[in-house]
C-alpha cells in the first residue's frame, strides 16, 4: 500500500470512528444534565413521575455510556495509531487538555457507577441527586477538554517553530486559542440541545404508539422546553462562531458560504449548485454574510480569491453547513411552537402530525451533529494543524490501514445493532405504566 493509500484509509477510518463516536459522546455529555433536571423537578414538585423519568433515562444512559467508553478508547488510540506524526507534535504542545480529559472522565465514571447502584440507598433523595453533579460536570468537562484540542488544531498557538524545532512552548496558551470559546460553547449547547430533542422524540413516539400516560406528556414538555432554551443559545453562539471564522479562518467561512470574491456587503448563499464556479439556484440573502461575519452589512468579507488553490477546503462543505443550520433553525421553531402552543392550550400541538414532527426531530438533531462535525473537520483541510502540518504528512506509513478499516467497520456495526436492540427491548419489556404500578405496590408493602 503506497503512502497515498495510507493517508486515504487513515482519513476514512478516523471519519468513521468519529462519526460513530460523536453520537454516543453527544448523548453522553447531554443526558446527565437532563437526568439531573428531571430528578430535581421531581424532588421540588414531589412528583414521582419526574423521578421515574430520571431513573429510566439513567438506565438507558448507562448503555450509551458503555458504548461511548468503547468508541472513545478506540478514537483515543487511533489518534496515535493513524496520525503518529501529528500526535508527536501535538503531544509536545496540546497534551495537557488530553491528559485532563482522562481525569474528567475518570471522575465521571466513578460517580456514575455510584449513582447507578445507589438508587433507594439514601433516605434523602437529594443526597442521591447530588451524586449526579460530578457525573454531569465530568461529562461536560470531558467535552470541554477534547474540544480545546480540536480548537487548537484550527487555530494553533502557544509555540514557535525555529529551524524545524518546537520552541517557546506554552501549554496554557495552546489550550486557550481564539477558536476555543466559540467551539466549546457550541459543542456544549448543541449536546444539551440534541439530547433534549432525542429524549423528546422518544416521549412523542410513546404517545403516538398508544400510551396516553401523563408521564410521557410531562417528559415531552420538559425536554422541549430544555431543547428550546439550548437551541436559542446555540443560535447566539453560532453568530459568534461566524465572527471567529471571519477573523481567524476566513477560508473556512468562505468555502462554507461559496464566497469567492472578497467584497463589501456580501450576501449569504443558501443551498444552490456550483456550475463552473458560478453559484446557481441559491437563495441569496443580501448583506447577510457581512452581518454574520462582522455585524455590519457593509463590512468586507474575505473570499477564496485570497488563498492559494491548494489551501482551500473542499467546496461541498457548503451543504454540510447549510444542513446543520437548517436543522438547527427548524428545531428552534418547532420547539418554540410546541412550548407556546402548550401554554395557550392550542389543540394542534397534541395532534398526530405534530407529534410525528417531534419524533423526526431526534434523528434530525443527530444528523445536524454529524453534519456539523464533518463541516468542522473537512473545512480545516488540507491541514490537520492549520497552517503548520498537512493531513497527508501526518498519517502513518503502515500498510495495513485498509484491513483495520474493515475490522472497525464490523465492530461499529455490531455495536450499533446491539445498542438499538438492547435499548428498545429494555423499555418495551418494562413499560412505564407497569413500573408505576409496581412502585405503588412496593410502597403499600412498605407502609404495612
Amino acid at each position: 500500500m503506497g503512502n497515498e493509500e495510507s493517508v486515504f484509509f487513515s482519513r476514512v477510518l478516523t471519519e468513521l470512528t468519529l462519526s460513530f463516536h460523536i453520537i454516543y459522546a453527544t448523548i453522553g455529555v447531554g443526558i446527565p444534565l437532563m437526568i439531573m433536571i428531571a430528578q430535581w423537578v421531581g424532588i421540588k414538585k414531589q412528583d414521582e413521575h419526574y423521578i421515574l423519568l430520571a431513573r429510566r433515562w439513567a438506565r438507558g444512559f448507562v448503555i450509551t455510556v458503555a458504548v461511548g467508553v468503547v468508541t472513545g478508547t478506540a478514537i483515543g488510540l487511533q489518534l496515535s495509531l493513524l496520525w503518529p506524526n501529528f500526535m508527536e507534535l501535538a503531544g509536545n504542545v496540546i497534551a495537557l487538555p488530553l491528559f485532563m480529559e482522562t481525569f474528567a472522565f475518570f471522575f465521571e465514571a466513578i460517580f456514575l457507577g455510584i449513582y447507578l447502584y445507589t438508587w433507594d440507598r439514601f433516605e434523602n433523595q437529594k443526597k442521591h441527586m447530588l451524586l449526579l453533579i460530578p457525573v454531569a460536570i465530568g461529562a461536560s468537562f470531558s467535552a470541554i477538554f477534547i474540544t480545546m484540542v480540536n480548537a487548537f488544531m484550527n487555530a494553533p498557538q502557544g509555540f514557535d517553530i525555529v529551524n524545524g524545532q518546537l520552541v517557546n512552548i506554552n501549554p496554557i496558551l495552546a489550550m486557550f486559542t481564539p477558536a476555543m470559546p466559540t467551539k466549546v460553547a457550541h459543542v456544549l449547547s448543541t449536546a444539551y440541545m440534541t439530547s433534549a430533542f432525542v429524549l423528546a422524540s422518544i416521549g412523542a413516539y410513546r404517545l403516538l404508539k398508544g400510551s396516553n400516560h401523563i408521564y410521557h406528556k410531562k417528559a415531552l414538555l420538559l425536554t422541549m422546553k430544555i431543547g428550546l432554551i439550548f437551541s436559542i443559545a446555540t443560535a447566539v453562539i453560532g453568530d459568534f462562531s461566524g465572527k471567529y471564522l471571519a477573523e481567524y479562518q476566513p477560508e473556512k467561512l468562505a468555502a462554507a458560504e461559496w464566497h469567492f470574491e472578497t467584497e463589501e456587503g456580501a450576501p449569504l448563499m443558501l443551498y444552490g449548485v456550483l456550475d463552473d464556479g458560478e453559484v446557481k439556484y441559491a437563495i441569496k440573502i443580501p448583506y447577510a454574510l457581512s452581518i454574520l461575519a462582522h455585524s455590519n452589512p457593509n463590512a468586507e468579507v474575505i473570499g477564496l480569491d485570497q488563498f492559494p488553490e491548494d489551501e482551500i477546503p473542499p467546496l461541498y462543505i457548503h451543504y454540510l453547513f447549510d444542513l446543520m443550520v437548517t436543522i438547527g433553525m427548524w428545531m428552534t421553531a418547532l420547539s418554540l411552537i410546541y412550548v407556546l402552543g402548550t401554554w395557550f392550550k392550542m389543540r394542534f400541538v397534541s395532534s398526530k402530525w405534530f407529534r410525528w414532527l417531534i419524533v423526526l426531530g431526534g434523528p434530525l438533531s443527530i444528523i445536524a451533529i454529524e453534519a456539523g462535525w464533518w463541516f468542522a473537520e473537512v473545512g480545516r483541510q488540507p491541514w490537520i494543524l492549520r497552517g503548520i502540518m498537512r493531513t497527508e504528512d501526518a498519517a502513518t506509513s503502515s500498510g495495513q490501514v485498509d484491513l483495520m478499516l474493515l475490522l472497525f467497520a464490523g465492530l461499529y456495526l455490531v455495536l450499533a445493532i446491539g445498542s438499538i436492540i438492547v435499548l428498545t427491548r429494555m423499555f418495551r419489556k418494562n413499560p412505564v405504566e407497569q413500573e408505576l404500578a409496581d412502585r405503588e405496590l412496593e410502597k403499600e408493602g412498605e407502609l404495612q
Binding site: 482522562t102 481525569f103 465514571a109 466513578i110 449513582y115 447502584y117 512552548i169 501549554p171 435499548l423 419489556k429
Partner: protein, 341 residues
C-alpha cells in the same frame, strides 16, 4: 529526581494499577465463562456481577490514562509505538469493545446470551495476550528503522519464544491475580462454595505464573543481554517478590487471612513490576528510544505533573468512596442490597 523519571514513574504506577484491576476483571470473566461451560455458573455469576459491574469503566480509564499520559510525557512514543502497533493495538481495542458491550448489553441491557458470555470470557485472555506483545516489542529486535519508516517484523515476533513466554505469563498472572482477589471477595460475601472454587483456581494458577516469570528472565539473557544484566543487578527485588508470592500461596493454602493474601499478592506484583521497569531504564524501546530523547519539553512536563497532582486530589477521595460503597460495604457485598437504577 529528574522530570523524566517522575513522568515515567507516574505512568508506570498507573500501568501497574491497570494490571491489577484489569486482571481481576479479565480473570473473573474467564472463570464465569468456564463455569457456565461446566454447568456451575450459579456459583460465580453473582459475585462477579456485584463487584465488576459498578467498576469496569473505572478499570478502562486506567488504560486510557496510561496511553494518553505516555504521549503527553513522551511524545516520540506516539511516532514509534503508534506506527508499529497499528495492528496489535487495533485488535486489543476490538477485544476491549467486546468486554464493554458485554456490560452494556448483558449486564445493563438484560440480553442474556451464552455467546456473549463466552466471547466476554475469552476476550479476557486475548486482551492481556495482545497488550503484552507491546512489552516484547519494547525489548528490541523486532523493529527496523528504514528510510520508508518503521517496520515491525511480524515473523520474527511470532516465532520468538520470548513472545510466547510473555503471552503465557500475562494469561497465568491474570488468572492468578483474579482468583486470589475473588477468593477474598467471595469469602467476605459468606459464599462458601464460591470461595472454595476460587481458592482452588488460585492455587492452580500460582504455579504457571511463577514458572513463566522465571523463564522469561532466563530467555532475556539471550534476547537482550544488556537488559538481563540490569535485571541481575536487581536480583534482591525479585527475591522480595518471591517471598511475597510464597506468603500468598501459604495463606490461601491454609485458608487464612484472604485479605492479607491479596495484599501480599499486590506487593509481589508491585515489586516485580517496578524491578522490571527499573531494569528497562532508560529505554522505552530498545535500542531506538530512551526516556531522555523521547521526553517532552519542560513547560509541558511541569504542567502535566501539576495536573496530575490536582487530578489525584480529586480522584483518590472518589475512588475511596467507590470502594467503600461496593467493596467494603458488607450489605452490598453479601447481596442484601441492590439499588440499581
Amino acid at each position: 529526581m529528574t522530570l523524566e523519571i517522575i513522568g515515567i514513574s507516574v505512568l508506570w504506577l498507573f500501568l501497574f494499577g491497570y494490571v491489577i484491576v484489569a486482571s481481576i476483571d479479565f480473570g473473573a470473566g474467564f472463570f464465569n465463562a468456564y463455569s457456565l461451560f461446566r454447568g456451575k455458573q450459579h456459583i460465580l455469576t453473582r459475585i462477579i456481577q456485584r463487584y465488576l459491574s459498578p467498576v469496569w469503566e473505572v478499570t478502562n480509564v486506567f488504560l486510557v490514562f496510561f496511553f494518553v499520559g505516555i504521549v503527553g510525557f513522551f511524545p516520540k512514543t506516539a511516532y514509534y509505538y503508534g506506527t508499529i502497533l497499528l495492528v496489535p493495538a487495533s485488535i486489543a481495542v476490538v477485544l476491549l469493545a467486546i468486554r464493554g458491550s458485554y456490560y452494556a448489553f448483558t449486564t445493563y441491557g438484560g440480553l442474556r446470551q451464552k455467546r456473549w458470555t463466552y466471547l466476554y470470557g475469552l476476550s479476557g485472555l486475548f486482551i492481556p495476550a495482545s497488550l503484552s506483545i507491546v512489552l516484547t516489542i519494547s525489548e528490541g529486535g523486532f523493529v527496523s528503522e528504514t528510510s520508508a519508516g518503521l517496520e515491525l517484523d511480524y515473523w520474527a515476533l511470532f516465532t520468538s519464544p520470548l513472545t510466547w513466554s510473555i503471552v503465557v505469563l500475562s494469561i497465568a498472572a491474570v488468572l492468578y491475580i483474579s482468583a486470589v482477589f475473588l477468593t477474598w471477595y467471595a469469602n467476605k460475601a459468606n459464599d462458601e462454595p464460591a470461595t472454595e472454587l476460587l481458592r482452588k483456581y488460585a492455587l492452580i494458577w500460582a504455579v504457571p505464573a511463577i514458572v513463566t516469570a522465571t523463564g522469561i528472565i532466563v530467555e532475556l539473557r539471550d534476547h537482550n543481554p544488556e537488559h538481563f544484566s540490569r535485571l541481575m543487578d536487581l536480583w534482591w527485588l525479585f527475591g522480595v517478590s518471591f517471598i511475597l508470592f510464597a506468603g500468598t500461596v501459604y495463606l490461601i493454602w491454609k485458608r487464612k487471612l484472604y485479605g492479607l493474601a491479596f495484599g501480599l499478592l499486590t506487593g509481589q506484583f508491585f515489586v516485580a513490576f517496578f524491578a522490571y521497569g527499573i531494569s528497562h531504564y532508560p529505554y522505552l524501546l530498545y535500542p531506538h528510544l530512551t526516556i531522555y530523547d523521547g521526553f517532552t519539553n519542560e513547560a509541558m512536563a511541569i504542567a502535566l505533573i501539576i495536573a496530575f497532582i490536582a487530578g489525584l486530589g480529586l480522584l483518590l477521595p472518589s475512588l475511596y468512596l467507590l470502594l467503600r460503597l461496593f467493596l467494603f460495604n458488607k450489605d452490598y457485598v453479601q447481596g442484601k442490597r441492590d439499588d440499581h437504577a
